[in-house]
């Protein structure tokens, strides 16, 4: 499971389409936790009192929907990254 994209010794500028796609999947996997964090810190900007307060049920539904979305996203990404192990390295251009 070597992370070829991170390796400084392999400076290939252009990649095969499939390789390029895989790299972007890796990027997505890196960004996913940030997305989750942002979505779950949104309740911080909800008004705490007065007009427009969010009802508990809505809050609950929001948090669990985000949760379900994150689980699906991570599941999809980990499925896509599963192939990463067996894939051959870039063919020499």
């Amino acid at each position: 499971m070597s992370d070829r994209a991170d390796r400084p010794g392999a400076p290939t500028v252009f990649h095969e389409r499939r390789t390029y796609r895989r790299r972007r999947v890796m990027d997505a996997a890196r960004v996913a936790p940030i997305l989750a964090l942002i979505l779950w810190t949104i309740p911080l900007i909800w008004p705490q009192s007065g007009e427009g307060t969010v009802s508990s049920a809505t809050a609950l539904i929001y948090i669990f929907l985000v949760w379900a979305g994150i689980i699906l996203l991570t599941g999809a990404l980990s499925h896509l990254l599963a192939d990463e192990v067996d894939e051959p390295p870039d063919p020499e251009p």
Partner: protein, 895 residues
């Protein structure tokens, strides 16, 4: 049969079932049937060790008290699991390649195998975990007392007894299955399997209660949501700082808690399991927390005022007459508590025995650990004692704190304490510049602030911290008040402690790291950790650790010297076909290395050293380094001695040679003196004799007079010639001769020599054959000296050629860079044993033919050397053959 007795029976049956599961799993693992024992599903379920009884019961209680805050405890770990690609994958790879056995081991290993850091983290872990174990015991006794209240109540005495029996049972289970395998890797198939089963039980239990509450009590999902909105939850009210802070705290704790680290990293069998766990464990957390709010709302609704919301999961089904469901729920809580205690005890005992007991034991033992067998046994014993110790410490804490609110809040306090390890851990994984001093400073700062602002106050004001300090600050300084450091008050106590401890921890860690310099081992480990994906290409084999080889390399360099060690490793790497410069630590390589080391430090020591590094046992690499250093010093010292003695013997040899030369010279000088006196004496004797005759004889015929006078004259002339020759030789030999360089043909020089040699020719006529056409070679040299050489050679031929018709052939050959002139006569030549001698001074072939002083050829050789050529005797088929060689370069230059 009362409910309590039934409960005890169910409990016992359940525990027996767990023993069976663990036993069977261990059996299967021993038979090598690991395939489904170590599946991604089991791995994911074992991660649920994070959810303890505190979260099982406490989540509902927390929801009833603080609303949605309980969710943060699950959101943090979810985010960590989602970060698997860049965070957990690296952590697990490090754990596998470096053979990490605990979080203390990880920190110590990263920072140059520091035993001080390891001990520090261990102490922190013990302090943070003991109350947590007490909390589990409390939750079980509480749930017991709930059932007991229905029948005949549970006295305080009985509560303590339940806790005691529980702790003993857990300690037994952990000792049985936690220290079963004797091999070094800290993996426990039986325990993991039992935990996975318990994970299913607690999830099923909570989901059952939740489903019952939503669809059985509230009457459907929509009604349940309406009920939530109508309850005192009502609207979204959450302390913002706590929401963000607790997400961070739970994420940090998920990484740093000894028990989660144990299952996440140490027990991991295959990195690919993480891929499944990355989404499956968040799903587990999501399901566990899904029905918490509905249960809390219903509990608040139907339970009498003042009842403990922490036990709603149990009391709500009981109140509604669902005894079976309550029993399931009880088992869920029981599972949560027991699995936590078991894994925490294993993790802590590993740390305590490896980083505290063993170092002390090894220190106390006089002989040091040279036999690996007894160390193994000692480790095992230490681990067993540690397990019992840790569990009993938890029990003791439970008895002393006597339950209550103080204990309930200890969960987050413990989280905050263990989170102090996070900066050193993440810094070590991603920043090569992090140093041991930095990690130590950060941990110390964070730990101290946590202790002062959170842990000690958690026992209640006035218990450990005096009231005066809380009210007036440490030493009466207001800015040191434990709940308002630096004068910033009004914050939530937990958030206050978290903020300051983490802030100062990170500042100290980074700051000290920036200004200190790491040891070589630290730098090696830093590179290993940060660039783990470059160092470990083969993640699946447990035995293949480059780290090991690097350690061996460091050690070998100290003993063999850098160059030699590198060459050795490179050679083996090439032989193995490895890509880098480091070979894999195969038995072949280890044997070869041991042999190499053995030649320097002795076989037994080499074996112990290699064994200790590859065995990865209790002796630290640092110790080995010390040994290696000493050995290197000794080697260096002996190398210096050897060098000195070599120099001495070299000098002695030189002196001996010089002495021999001097002796030889002295002998030569003696020989020369006797020779020269002899040579001078012979003519002098005849001169004296004949002059005496002339003086003393009165009557002498003029004929006789003239004959005697001519003899005297001849002898005087011979004497003069001898002296001239001697003078000439000494001049030529000393290089004082001035060469009179001029142009001329070789023919002229030979003509002059032939005519000069003919003077005084009285015996047999010497025939000289020449090919004058080949002699037209223009030379730029000292022609007089050259002629002198030729004269000498021709005269010798005349003197010594013993043929009846003596003939001398002078042959000239022009080659590319030299002129060769051969003088060959038709005599019998020079005897082979005399050939070596003829160019020496006073050397004469035979005494009978003594005509000169024997200096002629010696002078010839000296002259030719001065002219840049040579004269040699060439053994020919017949006759004497002298060869004169002149460099042609001189001739060319003249043209």
């Amino acid at each position: 049969m009362s409910t309590l007795n039934l409960l005890v029976a169910v409990c016992t049956a359940y525990v027996c079932f767990l023993f069976l599961v663990a036993f069977v799993a261990d059996r299967l693992a021993m038979q090598g049937k690991k395939a489904w024992l170590r599946s991604p599903l089991i791995y994911t379920l074992s991660l649920s060790i994070y959810c303890t009884a505190w979260t099982f019961y406490g989540a509902v209680g927390s929801a009833a008290r603080n609303g949605f805050e309980y969710l943060t405890i699950y959101l943090g770990p979810t985010i960590v699991m989602v970060s698997w690609w860049w965070l957990l994958r690296k952590l697990i790879r490090i754990g596998r390649t470096q053979k990490i056995t605990s979080i203390a081991d990880l920190i110590s290993s990263r920072y140059g195998k520091s035993s001080l850091l390891a001990a520090g983290v261990t102490i922190l872990a013990v302090i943070g975990t003991t109350p947590y174990i007490a909390l589990q015991l409390q939750s079980v006794t509480l749930s017991f007392s709930v059932f007991a209240a229905q029948s005949d109540g549970l006295a305080g005495q009985d509560q303590a007894r339940v806790a005691l029996w529980l702790s003993l049972g857990l300690a037994l289970f952990t000792v049985l299955f936690g220290t079963r395998n004797l091999d070094a890797k800290e993996r426990h198939d039986g325990v993991v399997m039992a935990i996975a089963v318990e994970a299913v039980v607690k999830l099923v239990a909570l989901l059952s209660v939740g489903i019952f509450v939503v669809w059985g009590v509230s009457g459907g999902l929509t009604d349940a949501l309406n009920q939530i909105d109508a309850s005192e939850f009502g609207e979204w009210h959450t302390d913002r700082s706590r929401w963000a802070g607790l997400i961070f705290l739970s994420a940090a704790a998920f990484l740093c808690l000894p028990r989660t680290f144990q299952v996440l990293v140490v027990e991991n069998d295959d990195e690919s399991h993480l891929r499944t766990a990355s989404w499956a464990f968040p799903l587990y957390l999501c399901l566990i927390s899904l029905f918490v709010v509905p249960i809390a709302v219903v509990g608040l609704d139907i339970m009498p005022e003042g009842s403990n919301p922490d036990l709603f999961v149990l009391t709500v089904p009981l109140a509604l007459g669902e005894d079976g469901l309550a029993m399931l729920s009880f088992l869920g809580g029981f599972s949560s508590a027991t699995s936590m205690v078991i894994v925490a005890a294993i993790a802590l005992s590993t740390m305590v025995s490896n980083h505290i007991v063993m170092p002390i034991w090894l220190q106390l033992r006089p002989s040091g650990a040279s036999v690996s067998g007894d160390v193994r046994a000692a480790v095992l014993t230490a681990r067993r004692i540690s397990i019992v110790g840790v569990v009993m410490l938890g029990y003791l804490y439970f008895r002393l704190s006597s339950g209550g609110e103080a204990l309930a809040s200890i969960g987050l306090v413990a989280f905050c304490g263990l989170a102090q390890v996070l900066p050193a851990m993440l810094g070590g994984m991603f920043w090569r510049g992090a140093t041991r001093m930095g990690a130590f400073a950060g941990l110390t700062a964070g730990f101290a602030i946590w202790l002062y602002t959170l842990y000690l106050p958690s026992f209640g004001v006035g218990t450990i911290l005096p009231v005066s300090i809380v009210e007036n600050g440490l030493f009466g300084m207001a800015w040191l008040k434990p709940d308002a450091l630096f004068g910033i008050s009004g914050m939530d106590q937990l958030m206050h402690a978290l903020l300051w401890s983490m802030l100062l921890n990170v500042v100290a860690f980074v700051g000290v790291s920036l200004v200190t310099f790491p040891s070589p081992l630290e730098r090696l480990q830093a590179a290993q950790f940060v660039n783990i994906f470059e160092h470990s290409t083969n993640a699946r084999s447990w035995s293949g650790g480059t780290a090991q080889t690097e350690d061996l390399m460091v050690m070998a360099q100290r003993i063999l010297g850098a160059g030699e060690a590198q060459a050795l490793f490179l050679r083996h790497a090439r032989r193995q076909g490895a890509r880098g410069n480091l070979p894999a630590p195969t038995p072949d390589f280890l044997e070869a290395l041991e042999r190499e080391l053995g030649s320097s430090v002795g076989a037994a020591t080499a074996h112990a050293m290699v064994g200790q590094i590859t065995g990865g046992m209790a002796i630290s690499v640092e110790d080995l380094m010390a040994v290696a250093d000493e050995t290197a010093q000794m080697l260096e010292y002996s190398a210096r001695l050897k060098e000195q003695s070599e120099e001495l013997s070299r000098t002695a040899l030189e002196l001996r040679n010089a002495n021999q030369k001097l002796t030889r010279l002295s002998i030569q000088k003696d020989a020369f003196l006797s020779q020269i006196s002899h040579e001078l004496r012979t003519p002098m004797t005849s001169i004296r004799a004949f002059s005496e005759i002339l003086r003393d004889t009165d009557q002498m015929s003029p004929d006789e007079q003239s004959r005697y006078a001519s003899i005297i004259h001849d002898e005087a002339q011979r004497l003069t010639r001898l002296l001239d020759d001697l003078l000439d030789l000494s001049v030529v030999e000393n290089g004082q001769v001035n060469l009179n360089l001029r142009d001329g043909t070789l023919r002229d020089a030979l003509d002059r020599a032939v005519s000069a040699a003919a003077i005084g020719d009285d015996g047999v006529q010497l025939m000289i054959e020449r090919d004058t056409s080949r002699e037209d070679i223009v030379l730029h040299t000292d022609l007089d000296r050259l002629s002198q050489v030729f004269i000498n050679l021709i005269a010798n031929a005349r003197k010594y050629c013993d043929s009846k018709t003596p003939r001398l052939v002078i042959r000239v050959m022009k080659e590319t860079d030299r002129v060769v002139i051969d003088f060959q006569d038709n005599g019998s030549g020079i005897a082979p044993d005399a050939v070596d001698m003829i160019f020496e001074k006073f050397a004469r072939v035979s005494d009978q033919k003594a005509g000169g002083a024997g200096l002629g050829l010696a002078i010839c050789r000296q002259v030719m050397t001065r002219l840049g050529g040579s004269v040699d005797y060439i053994p020919a088929l017949r006759g004497a053959n002298f060869r004169v060689v002149l460099p042609y370069r001189t001739a060319m230059a003249a043209q």
